[in-house]
Point group: C2
Chain length 442, copies 2
């Protein structure tokens, strides 16, 4: 008998590698999955310091939200149903200018992490301001974080120009260089907010430090048209000519792709992040996921910020991705439940260059996973657990979540965060932001 940190038995383990195991146990030691064995065997071979049984649950790999602006959670529902430029010019940008600072980002990040953990997300890939605040929140919450070094040409409260954004980013990079759960990435905002010169500096830094580069790309037709006007090239061509389209790139949205674009992508193999709900809510368009997959391109899944979604719920995002693929291709076989799960796990890990550490339930990988209780009215009867998870389960059926072996959600209760305090703080910020007009609870 070997003594191990945790033995976690489950009715089903969906590994994320096209396998579903029944009545198996995960043996967790020092934050990693040491073995995956039948429950009977586990009882004979291991003694757990902690032993848990999830008899009506499926355990899935922790979900990876491959594109977020988590601190925007404080703007959830602040301004909906508006035309894009009205939304940005008259609501989001002024609010960000007035309110976004280190304290805001720290509070809002903790709050967003509570939402992510409560819905089975164990890792996110963020782009925003005041990165150290997001990183401090990740240290406290225990979630796994990839945090983008935002670079823009114009000033915000975080930095005045691209040189300052980069300088601040380098400080951040140095501070978190060897952190086990927090990883820096480069994050130029949009093609139209970053100059050619800055893109070249970003590429150089990314090459030097082996960093992924996040970029909103071909999100809207307007973006493409503006680029053609200004640079006489579509953004993908412009970035390609600058040497930015490569396996290092995480290209987000990609709703506007012609044959030339697809040719560049197929040859240069960046990862794509599909954000179906944000693309629908903002009327951006549809990322041709099936087409990209057929070209062998890695496509991950993200929610975008909660201001344009309005949640960080990857369970729902998988369902929306499947539905939208079926509609947009007029093929009901497109993007099945297994592929949706893969986009939300392994493909996210690949996009982040973390596929040896996370993305599936496998021996040697980090113990990042979530238990979903399927014994509810809404997921009965039960023919295929994975189908129920993608098409019928809702976030509150996620009961338990682990990151690096640490349990962050225990029977629906957060273990590292105080939910009530986070809600109260969110309401306090909302009262400030809306000039005391917010209909808060009295």
């Amino acid at each position: 008998m070997q003594t191990v940190d945790q033995i976690i038995h489950a009715k089903w383990i969906i590994t994320g590698e096209n396998k579903m195991l029944e009545q198996h146990a995960l043996i967790v030691q020092e934050g990693k999955i040491q073995a995956i064995v039948p429950s009977d065997t586990a009882a004979q071979q291991y003694t757990g310091k902690i032993t848990k049984k999830y008899s009506t649950h499926a355990i899935i790999p922790g979900l990876i939200n491959a594109h977020t602006h988590i601190a925007m959670n404080y703007f959830r529902g602040f301004a909906d149903d508006l035309a894009l430029m009205n939304w940005l010019n008259n609501y989001i940008w002024p609010a960000e200018k007035q309110w976004v600072n280190d304290e805001f980002v720290y509070d809002a990040s903790l709050f967003a992490m509570a939402e992510m953990i409560r819905s089975g997300t164990t890792c996110f890939n963020d782009m925003y301001f005041f990165l150290p605040a997001t990183a401090r929140a990740a240290e406290i919450s225990g979630i796994r974080a990839h945090i983008g070094i935002t670079v823009l040409e114009f000033p915000t409260q975080w930095a005045q120009n691209s040189a300052e954004y980069l300088a601040r980013g380098l400080e951040f990079l140095t501070e978190y260089k060897n952190h086990p759960r927090i990883t820096a990435t480069m994050a130029p905002g949009h093609p139209f907010t970053v100059s050619d010169n800055s893109f070249l500096k970003i590429k150089e830094l990314a090459d030097t430090h082996n960093l992924k580069i996040n970029l909103h790309l071909h999100e809207t037709a307007d973006e493409v048209n503006q680029s053609v006007e200004q640079y006489k090239k579509r953004p993908i061509k412009r970035l390609h000519d600058l040497g930015l389209i490569s396996e290092r790139l995480i290209a987000i949205h990609m709703t506007q792709l012609n044959e030339e674009d697809l040719g560049i992508l197929a040859a240069s193999r960046p990862s794509i992040v599909h954000c179906p709900e944000s693309n629908m809510k903002l009327s951006s368009g549809v990322c041709p996921v099936e087409k990209l997959k057929s070209l062998g391109i890695n496509v991950a899944l993200g929610t975008d910020g909660a201001a344009s979604n309005n949640d960080l719920n990857m369970l729902g995002e998988m369902r929306s991705a499947a539905f939208l693929a079926k509609l947009s291709t007029l093929n009901p076989e497109a993007l099945n439940a297994e592929e949706a799960l893969r986009m939300a796990t392994m493909n996210g890990a690949k996009a982040l260059g973390a596929e040896r550490i996370i993305g599936s339930i496998a021996v040697g990988k980090a113990a990042d996973f979530a238990a979903i209780n399927l014994d509810e009215v809404e997921t009965a009867p039960l023919y295929h657990p994975l189908s129920q998870i993608v098409y019928a389960a809702s976030r509150h059926q996620v009961t338990d979540v682990w990151v690096a072996g640490k349990q962050l959600l225990k029977n629906r209760q957060l273990t590292t965060l105080d939910e009530q305090e986070l809600r109260a703080k969110a309401q306090a910020w909302a009262r400030k932001i809306s000039g005391a007009k917010a209909p808060c609870f009295s």
Copy 2:
């Protein structure tokens, strides 16, 4: 001081008539809303046999699911991600042929009613077989039901031919003629499953008994093409020539509409039921809701059966309707939160001809409403309660539901149904249906 059955205080009451009241109370007497008054006034003028306070909740009109096949809940997740004819020919139709009988429909209907009540739906408009079984289930559960007298030309376990379907339907109609919560409608299945002759009989019966007529119409391009081949007319034109397109008609799906179709609809004014999630999952197409609204046509909202959705959750359906409208029109202002709620309430009531009884929270109407707790992480911060309900809330935040003044859900507990028993029964059926191969809980 007047003594009344119930005084229900809420932080917000969203009436469904473009009004949000804060700190008001609903005065319920004999199953109806007798008054809506400020909470202070309520305390001074009324004594309630029961008094409740919902201090972090919004009360909304009971949601009306305008198109269902509720007994298909037992086929939820039975066969997903398949091409339509493979799905029907090799999975759904054989399973229905083998298993659908009075007991199946009764058990599955009770089970589906549990799901509907748990997500704030107080009324549904159904088409299936063994109508008396669905009606008995509605009597027990307390939900409001509109039940279609299905008419087909081909045999099922319920009837052998259109004459028998009609005869059974007339029996049903007679039995439930004056029921306060259960209403019969006519329900020819699809244009391609019903002959011209039968349509004329259906119209005659509907006129005689003042019944609405439910019909799947222009759901897919194939349906339209087949009709053009067989009848040399598109289905809408064929039905119009038969006199069926009228205010009496509830036309379901309508994803394929050309100018000629729209002209007929604008002149004849049927109600339309939009089923966005089913249309996406089955790759049917997109109902042009904004266009229909601009023609003054009433558009309600439905889930369709859980086999093609895979839930009966109208909260989620509102969000999907809004998202799909914004994407398909490339206009983020399309179908805002208020319109989504109206489609799921008042427009459903109008489609059913029940707008004087249900569809909004108004004095004299039935006390059909739902309380949603907005004090959760996922609906914070709170700027606009209705935006949070449509775009961020999920079904488990529905805590309390009333139909005709009777409380069917009380702090998440069903009062008329035994949830655990319903889940066990669903699993027992699933084991039979899948030949003991279903991965049920042991």
